[in-house]
């Protein structure tokens, strides 16, 4: 066997060539030249809805040469909250994490400012509503990008036939598909009368009084309709005021017409109430209607999603936004911001809204008139008013305008529903208020 001898010149030439190749290699645009990105999205209720986000992200990743991994984290059993808490403690995890309502504020110190992304999107897609600003901004810092996926309004979903039959209310005429609401007469008093009539007719309104989100959101919107603040924007406990007393009196009257077991309802109870045909109205995003469409089509055909009744201080509807936040310890912030910008483009939003059957709501005002809501059915137009296209009601969240970290405690401890239940069960008004005051003072910890 002969052995080829390497000359000194050949050796130097080979070394120089390989060094040049090694030095220039990072600038060659390989399959994943722009690094890695891990995303924790909320796992959607609607079957197939995750696919829309996956497709948009994959398409972006291919173009930008980023290696992306996506985890869909469910909110059942609070797995998403546990993930947020664990990653915040470990200061390690996904680069982007979907955070519901209160969580951007709860983790504000650990989140990357997203001003450059959100301000650009506002210029492009229009303003965001006050609740998104309240929940997504700490001072001048945007804590996340308002996400379309998972954001929802929990407005009334009424049975057209039962409301006509028992309360004499034509919800379709009040909220016609394709045009502005004619709902001046849809007041809290009318609502109460309708609740009484439907109760007498054996189809009570299905409004929960438990400690889960749906119950808390509804009572919060009614409190705001009466101007009933329990903690003001500066963080002062102001629960002992006449507006709160008025709201409690109102809710006491309303509770008499609700199912007797409402204090033990969870977020699934109202859905079941509607789908089983036992009630004339629930407060929910269109997920209950979507289930009815599958399991009880004759009931779904009679459902109409519309606005809240107006109270002495205005018309408020609960809006629960999700945010896509980037951890300050994220290893690929430029890529994270780039993909979030992509996900917030009108065409991407339209795809996600369509994939969710109209459940998901973009926060930007120019994106509330997509064709999905106009066309979904049966009955056609049932979701037209769901995204509040005519800004007919103020989108709000229970316990606002208290500072978000205090409001989060009020919300999760369900202080407002507990006040209503205590008062309804015979506790004197002042005792209920004193109890609430004690609780609220406890929420002021920093």
């Amino acid at each position: 066997m002969t052995r080829k001898k390497l000359t000194r010149r050949q050796f130097i030439a080979a070394t120089a060539l390989s060094s040049a190749a090694l030095v220039t290699a990072p600038y060659v645009r390989g399959a994943h030249a722009a690094g890695k990105l891990s995303i924790g999205f909320w796992d959607h209720w609607v079957p197939g809805a995750n696919k829309a986000s996956t497709d948009i992200v994959n398409e972006w990743a291919e173009k930008e040469k980023v290696e992306v991994t996506i985890d869909y984290i469910p909110s059942q059993g609070n797995k998403n909250l546990l993930t947020i808490a664990a990653e915040a403690q470990a200061k390690s995890g996904h680069d982007i994490l979907a955070m519901p309502t209160w969580w951007p504020h709860a983790q504000a110190e650990l989140l990357e400012p997203m001003n450059d992304v959100v301000e650009g999107l506002i210029k492009q897609n229009g303003e965001v509503n006050g609740t998104v600003q309240y929940l997504g901004k700490a001072g001048n810092k945007w804590l996340g990008v308002p996400a379309c996926v998972g954001s929802q309004i929990k407005g009334p979903c009424s049975r057209i036939d039962l409301m006509k039959q028992h309360a004499g209310i034509d919800v379709q005429a009040m909220y016609p598909a394709g045009s502005a609401p004619k709902a001046d007469g849809w007041t809290t008093d009318t609502f109460l009368k309708a609740a009484e009539a439907c109760h007498k007719g054996g189809v009570p309104f299905g409004i929960g009084l438990g400690e889960t989100s749906d119950s808390v959101d509804t009572v919060g919107a009614f409190f705001l309709a009466f101007g009933a603040e329990v903690v003001d924007a500066k963080g002062n406990v102001v629960v002992k005021n006449d507006n709160v007393r008025q709201a409690l009196e109102y809710y006491k009257k309303l509770m008499a017409f609700l199912p007797s077991d409402a204090p033990s309802w969870d977020d699934g109870s109202n859905n079941r109430w509607l789908v089983s045909g036992r009630g004339a109205l629930i407060m929910n995003p269109p997920s209950a209607w979507a289930v009815a469409k599958r399991d009880a089509p004759q009931i779904a055909e009679q459902c109409w999603t519309h606005g809240f009744p107006v109270g002495p201080k205005g018309r408020f509807a609960p809006f629960l936004p999700y945010f896509w936040s980037v951890w300050s310890f994220s290893k690929n912030k430029p890529a994270a911001k780039s993909v979030l910008t992509r996900l917030s483009q009108p065409d991407a939003v339209e795809k996600m809204v369509a994939a969710s059957g109209g459940y998901d709501l973009p926060a930007f005002e120019k994106l509330t008139t997509l064709k999905t809501w106009a066309e979904e059915g049966p009955p056609k137009g049932t979701l037209y008013h769901y995204p509040n296209p005519h800004k007919h009601q103020l989108l709000s969240i229970s316990a606002s305008p208290a500072p978000p970290k205090v409001a989060q405690q009020i919300y999760t401890q369900a202080t407002l529903t507990k006040m209503c239940v205590r008062f309804y069960r015979g506790e004197p008004m002042e005792k209920t208020l004193a109890w609430a005051e004690g609780e609220l003072e406890g929420f002021m910890r920093s």
């Binding site: 546990l82 209160w102 033990s264 309802w265 036992r278 989060q408 401890q413 406890g442 910890r445």
Partner: protein
């Protein structure tokens, strides 16, 4: 045997070291230690570290940026809901353990008296509630207690009894969570008591029968004294597990209505994870430690005393 080493020169010392290592490895205690080492490491990692970490968390302020010593505990002591949770945890744990012990004791006697041939089937069937993961079986109970579609209420309606708000009224909700806990935990008592019953020598009963003891005297003077240790250990173990219960309450009532079924663990979760106040949540969960430690000291001391007497 003692290892004695006399230092003379370097070479034999190395050889002797190897020999003593070999001897050490051959010792039963070393083998036992090595075999339990994975478990010790696991406990260190999953129990000891989190325990100390939660101690550390409990000394921080809400935003976890400042050390506040016992500030969280001082805060809790002033909260009405905290004392409500303490009271409920005690009611829940004591009631559930008493009934589990009672039912376990009675059923163990029944099973003990079944002829050996059919006993295995009964033992297996009675253990079913304890074998099913509680998160799963509680879901079934949740449907049975469902506010609007309760199967129990359907049956009650069939015999003309009005609907019961199983999880909607304070009293009924407490009853429901305790009932499910008893259903889940009684088989554990039953199997422990059954094992204990089987180890009571028949001669003692024969002697008692010759002395003219009736069934109650046989239980009081023979069975119970012979089962004392197992009763004490089972009670302690169950008390700890019941006090720290999370899944049953969380699934069935989530602490409601009006916080009237919250236990330490569920309230800690509500505050710490859902409410975002991890230090306060850690403090709530740590509050179980002194209560259970006192119970453990009393019960174990009694067992030691009896152990020494025997």
């Amino acid at each position: 045997m003692a290892d004695v080493a006399i230092e003379r020169n370097a070479a034999p010392r190395t050889g002797r070291k190897r020999a003593s290592l070999r001897t050490a490895l051959k010792r039963k205690s070393t083998a036992a230690f090595l075999m339990t080492l994975p478990l010790i490491l696991l406990i260190l990692l999953l129990v000891i570290y989190p325990a100390f970490y939660s101690l550390h968390l409990a000394t921080l302020n809400k935003s976890m940026q400042r050390f506040i010593g016992l500030g969280n505990f001082q805060f809790l002591f002033k909260r009405e809901t905290f004392w409500l949770v303490v009271e409920q945890s005690c009611i829940f744990a004591i009631t559930a353990v008493v009934f589990k012990a009672l039912i376990g004791f009675i059923v163990a006697h029944f099973v003990h008296n079944i002829p050996a041939k059919g006993q295995r089937k009964w033992r297996g069937m009675l253990l079913v509630p304890w074998v099913i993961p509680p998160a799963m079986s509680t879901l079934a109970w949740l449907w049975l207690f469902d506010p609007s579609y309760s199967a129990f209420n359907y049956l009650l309606a069939g015999i003309g009894i009005d609907r019961i708000p199983w999880t909607g009224e304070t009293g009924w909700a407490r009853f429901s969570v305790i009932l499910v806990n008893i259903w889940f935990g009684a088989p554990f008592f039953m199997i422990m008591y059954l094992a204990s019953l089987k180890s009571v020598p028949d001669q003692l009963y024969e002697a008692a029968a010759i002395d003219g003891a009736n069934w109650w005297q046989r239980i009081w003077y023979v069975t119970l004294p012979m089962m004392r240790n197992i009763i004490a250990i089972t009670t302690l173990f169950s008390l700890i597990v019941t006090f720290a219960n999370f899944d049953i309450v969380r699934i069935l009532t989530a602490g409601g209505p009006l916080d009237r079924t919250h236990m330490f663990a569920t309230w800690a979760f509500r505050i710490g994870i859902e409410g975002g106040d991890i230090p306060l949540g850690a403090s709530v969960s740590l509050f179980m430690v002194p209560i259970l430690a006192i119970a453990a000291v009393f019960i174990l001391r009694d067992i030691n005393k009896r152990g020494n007497e025997s």
